[in-house]
C-alpha cells in the first residue's frame, strides 16, 4: 500500500464518517432523551435531499443557491419533525417500545411514498456549490474542496453540539432528562417542550445532512431505508444516546468500510455489521454509552 492510497482511503473514510455523524447524531440524541428508536430519521434525511434539489432548481441562476437550499431543507424538515412529534408521537410515549418502533416505521412507509409521489422515481442530482468546485493535491491524492468542507464541518458541529450539551442550560436539562425524565418533570422543567425541541433539532440535522449529500450522491427513492441502517450501526457502536460516542462510532464505521474495501472487497459491508454485533454482544450500550435501567 502506497502513502497516496492510504491517504485516499483515509480521506474517503473521513468524509463518509462525517456524513454519518451528521445523520446519526440526531438519531442518537432522540434515543438518549426520548428512548425512541426513530426509523423515520432516514426518511427525514431523504426529504431533506429532495427539498435541497427542489430549492436549487427553483433558484438555479442565483449565486449561493446551494447554501440557501441546504438551510431551507434543514428548516423544512425540522418543521415536519415538529409537526410529527406534536401531533402523533407525543401520544405514544407511555406505550410499549414495539408500538413506537412500528409508528416510526409507518412514517417511513408514508414519507417514502409521499416523496415518490412528489418527485418521481428518477435519479436527481445537484451540482457542487461554485465556491467549492475545485480540488487540491495532498500526499499524492486528489481531494475535492467539497469533501474537505464536509470533513471540517463534521467536527465543527460536533464541538458546537458538545458545548451546547455540556454548558448551556438547555443541554443540562437534556442530559438530566436522559437520566431521569420523571424527576426532571417533577422539578418543574417543561419536558414536553424539551422533547419537541429535541425532535426538531434532530430532524434539522437529518434534513441538513440530506441536503449536503446531494452533490456527492444522487437523490433516489430507497435512500431512506439504506441510510437508516448505516446510522443505526454507528449509534450502536458508539453508544445509543451518547453524543461523542456517535462521533467516534462514525469514525470507526467510516474507516472500517474504507479500508475494509481494500483488504476484503467482498466482505466490507459484512465487516461493519459484524463489528456492530460484537459491540452489542460485549457492550450492548455501546463503546461510550452507559447502560439504562
Amino acid at each position: 500500500m502506497t502513502i497516496s492510497l492510504i491517504a485516499a482511503q483515509f480521506l474517503s473514510g473521513l468524509t463518509t464518517a462525517m456524513f454519518l455523524f451528521l445523520i446519526a447524531s440526531g438519531l442518537s440524541l432522540v434515543f438518549g432523551v426520548m428512548r425512541v428508536l426513530n426509523f423515520a430519521h432516514g426518511s427525514f434525511y431523504m426529504i431533506g435531499a429532495y427539498m435541497a434539489w427542489q430549492v436549487v432548481t427553483w433558484l438555479q441562476p442565483t449565486g449561493g443557491a446551494f447554501w440557501i437550499a441546504a438551510l431551507a431543507a434543514g428548516v423544512s424538515v425540522a418543521i415536519l419533525g415538529g409537526i410529527v412529534e406534536r401531533l402523533l408521537l407525543r401520544h405514544l410515549y407511555g406505550v410499549e417500545e414495539l408500538y413506537q418502533l412500528l409508528f416510526t416505521y409507518a412514517l417511513v412507509l408514508i414519507l417514502g411514498d409521499a416523496a415518490k409521489f412528489t418527485w418521481g422515481t428518477d435519479q436527481l442530482s445537484v451540482h457542487r456549490p461554485p465556491v467549492l468546485d475545485g480540488s487540491f493535491q495532498w500526499l499524492g491524492t486528489t481531494v475535492p474542496y467539497y469533501n474537505l468542507f464536509i470533513i471540517l464541518l463534521g467536527p465543527a458541529i460536533a464541538i458546537v453540539g458538545g458545548l451546547i450539551l455540556s454548558r448551556s442550560s438547555a443541554g443540562r436539562l437534556l442530559r438530566a432528562a436522559a437520566f431521569d425524565r420523571e424527576m426532571v418533570g417533577a422539578l418543574g422543567a417543561n419536558v414536553g417542550m424539551l422533547y419537541t425541541g429535541m425532535f426538531v433539532v434532530s430532524s434539522f440535522l437529518a434534513g441538513l445532512a440530506g441536503a449536503l449529500i446531494t452533490p456527492i450522491e444522487s437523490v433516489v427513492p430507497g435512500m431512506d431505508v439504506q441510510i437508516i441502517v448505516d446510522a443505526f450501526i454507528v449509534v450502536v457502536i458508539g453508544g445509543l444516546g451518547s453524543f461523542w460516542g456517535t462521533f467516534w462510532g462514525a469514525m470507526i464505521y467510516g474507516q472500517t468500510l474504507s479500508f475494509g474495501i481494500l483488504a476484503f472487497p467482498q466482505l466490507s459491508v459484512f465487516a461493519v455489521f459484524a463489528l456492530m454485533a460484537v459491540v452489542l454482544i460485549v457492550r450492548p450500550w455501546g463503546l461510550m454509552g452507559r447502560p439504562i435501567r
Binding site: R35, L37, F39, L88, H91, L92, V95, E97, L98, Y99, L101, L102, F103, Y105, A106, L107, V108, L109, I110, G112, D113, A114, K116, F117, V225, V229, F232, I233, V236, Q266, L267, V269, F270, F273, A274, M276, A277, L280, I281, P284, W285
Partner: protein, 342 residues
C-alpha cells in the same frame, strides 16, 4: 392478590370457542380451494397460508413470550436460501430440502439467539435486527453460494406427481398441487405451534412475558426458555421461507432486508398478537388488501403506513382484539337490559 394479567392470551369469548380444533376447521375449509376458486384465488391463498405460518412463528416470540424480535426475517430467509440452493443447485428432493431448511434456520437461531436472549427490551430488538442485517449482507455479497444480488432464480417445484395417483386429484395443475402441499405442511406446523402455546412450556413463556422478574424468582431459567422458543420460532420461520422461495420461484436478498421484518410484524399486530389466530387473520387481511389496492395504485406502502397508523392509535388490539371488545360490549349491554327487564 387480584393483579390482572396485562395481556391474557386466551381472551376468546367463552369456553366453547376455545374447544374447537381450529387448525382442523380452517384446514378443511381451505381444502376445496383449487376446485371452487379461480387460479388467481388459489395463488393468493397459497401466499396467505405461507405468510400466516411465518407470522404465527413470529407471534411465538412477540405475543406469547413478549420478545420484540426485529430480525425474524433472517430465519425465514435462511430457510428460503437453504431449500432453494439444495433444490436448484444440487437437485436434492423437497422431502430432504424442506426439513433441512427448518433445521438450518433453527441452528442459526440457536447461534444468534444465544447472544440475543442475554439482552432485554430495545437492546434485544436491536441485536436481532443487527443479526438479520448480517444475514442480508452475506446473502447480498456471497455470490458463489447465494448468487449475490441476482439471488437464486428458477427454484423448481417439488415433485407432486404422487398426488395424481389419488382419485379426484388427477386433473389438478402443478400450482394447485403445490397449494395442497403448502396447506398440509402449514397446517401441521401451525397445529404444532398451537400445541406448544397450550403446553406447560407455553404457559411458562406467557409467565415470562407478564413478569420476567417474578418468573425468574419462582425458579424459571428465563434465558433457557427464551432461547428455546427463539429456536422453535426460527425453525418454523425457516419452513415458511422454504415454501415461499418455491412459491415465488426464486430467492433474493430483498427477502431478508430489515423492512420485511417490519412487514410480518405489521401482519401480526394487525390480526391481534394476543390471539393465537391473530397473525393468520392479519396475513389474510394484509395480503388481500395488497392485491386489491395494487390494482388501483402503485402507492401500496402509503396505504400500509396509514393502516398501521390507524391500528396503533385506534385499534391497538388488532382485528381480533377489536372484535372481542365489540362482542363483550354487546353482551354487557344485553345482560344489563335483561337485568332491567327482570
Amino acid at each position: 392478590m387480584s393483579l390482572p394479567l396485562s395481556r391474557p392470551m386466551a381472551r376468546t369469548p367463552g369456553l366453547t370457542l376455545r374447544r374447537v380444533p381450529w387448525t382442523l376447521v380452517v384446514f378443511l375449509l381451505l381444502l376445496p380451494m383449487p376446485w371452487i376458486g379461480s387460479r388467481y384465488d388459489t395463488f393468493l391463498a397459497t401466499q396467505i397460508i405461507i405468510d400466516a405460518l411465518f407470522a404465527v412463528s413470529l407471534n411465538l416470540l412477540l405475543g406469547t413470550t413478549g420478545l420484540v424480535s426485529f430480525g425474524h426475517v433472517a430465519y425465514f430467509g435462511i430457510g428460503a436460501y437453504i431449500c432453494g440452493i439444495l433444490m436448484k443447485n444440487y437437485g436434492i428432493s423437497f422431502v430432504i430440502a424442506f426439513p433441512a431448511a427448518g433445521l438450518g434456520a433453527a441452528l442459526f437461531s440457536l447461534i444468534f439467539g444465544f447472544f440475543c436472549v442475554r439482552l432485554t427490551k430495545i437492546y434485544f430488538a436491536m441485536l436481532t435486527l443487527a443479526f438479520s442485517q448480517i444475514v442480508w449482507a452475506v446473502c447480498f455479497k456471497w455470490d458463489a453460494v447465494t448468487g449475490g444480488d441476482q439471488g437464486i432464480a428458477d427454484v423448481p417445484f417439488p415433485d407432486t406427481h404422487w398426488m395424481t395417483a389419488i382419485p379426484g386429484l388427477g386433473d389438478l395443475t402443478e400450482n394447485s398441487r403445490f397449494y395442497l402441499l403448502t396447506l398440509m405442511l402449514a397446517a401441521v406446523c401451525i397445529a404444532a405451534m398451537a400445541q406448544i402455546t397450550r403446553s406447560p412450556f407455553g404457559r411458562m413463556l406467557t409467565a415470562i412475558r407478564d413478569n420476567r422478574e417474578r418468573a425468574a424468582f419462582i425458579g424459571l431459567n428465563v434465558r433457557a426458555y427464551e432461547l428455546t422458543v427463539f429456536v422453535v420460532a426460527g425453525g418454523f420461520a425457516g419452513f415458511s421461507g422454504a415454501l415461499y422461495g418455491i412459491f415465488t420461484r426464486g430467492v433474493f436478498p430483498d427477502y431478508v432486508f430489515w423492512t420485511q421484518s417490519a412487514q410480518v410484524m405489521i401482519m401480526t399486530i394487525l390480526g391481534g398478537m394476543d390471539f393465537f389466530w391473530g397473525p393468520p387473520v392479519g396475513a389474510l387481511v394484509l395480503d388481500w388488501l395488497n392485491q386489491e389496492i395494487t390494482n388501483y395504485t402503485q402507492y401500496w406502502p402509503f396505504v400500509l403506513g396509514s393502516i398501521l397508523l390507524v391500528l396503533l392509535f385506534a385499534l391497538p388490539g388488532g382485528v381480533l382484539g377489536g372484535l372481542t371488545r365489540a362482542y363483550r360490549e354487546v353482551r354487557r349491554r344485553r345482560s344489563r337490559t335483561a337485568l332491567r327487564d327482570a
